[in-house]
Symmetry: C2
Subunit: 133 residues, 2 copies
Amino acid sequence: MDRIPIIKIGGALLVSVQIDLHDRLAVALEEDLADRIVATGARGVLIDISALEIVDSFMGRMLDTIAAVGRVLDAETVVVGMRPAVAITLVELGLSLTGVKTALNVERGMAMIATSTAEGVDEAAIDDSLDDV
Amino acid sequence: MDRIPIIKIGGALLVSVQIDLHDRLAVALEEDLADRIVATGARGVLIDISALEIVDSFMGRMLDTIAAVGRVLDAETVVVGMRPAVAITLVELGLSLTGVKTALNVERGMAMIATSTAEGVDEAAIDDSLDDV
């Protein structure tokens, strides 16, 4: 497989990672995600890693990078479906994913994105601040 | 990977197929899907095959089987994201997926499931038919 599919659901993009992301595949995913965020105006990216039984430091850094790219494009990244063993491994590796939000499953991740999007676009507050100018 | 992840989104289950389904993996997916339909009460199953560049007759039959199992469990199966070349191959193989609904992408597939679920549970019609008894 040359590319991991990105699925648009409402205002979010969903990526189901099922295989180890090697260099080329990881770079392709980052580029594709950035392109799709811009093309669709998505406000959130959900990365489902429930299929992964093991996560190494490369994968941990890649999740951080994707979240950082998403952030500058005004989209929030939520990693969902992490197995307990993977969580333990990440912490033992010293990768506590500080820049990445996590949720138990896709539905909770979507709710998280919906909530923070609603907070982010508090139009009344924008109007107030414009009145003050 | 020993299992393909099944993602619950609203009243539907989403499966993103990214690798060739060999015998064992296909059987595991069928069993997992049947279990999850019963456990969650899902009314629809979305199978995203946008990552597949090629589909053989085994995969075609498997999609038919999943749809048939879903149907007896009162869930509708929609195959989404089929590449044009895959559609051509399926027809040339004589597999026109007659038992399976298709949609261009996940969002349209979800809309399709929502529509047919609303039609299927037309409660007024049920009340009327009970009145006639």
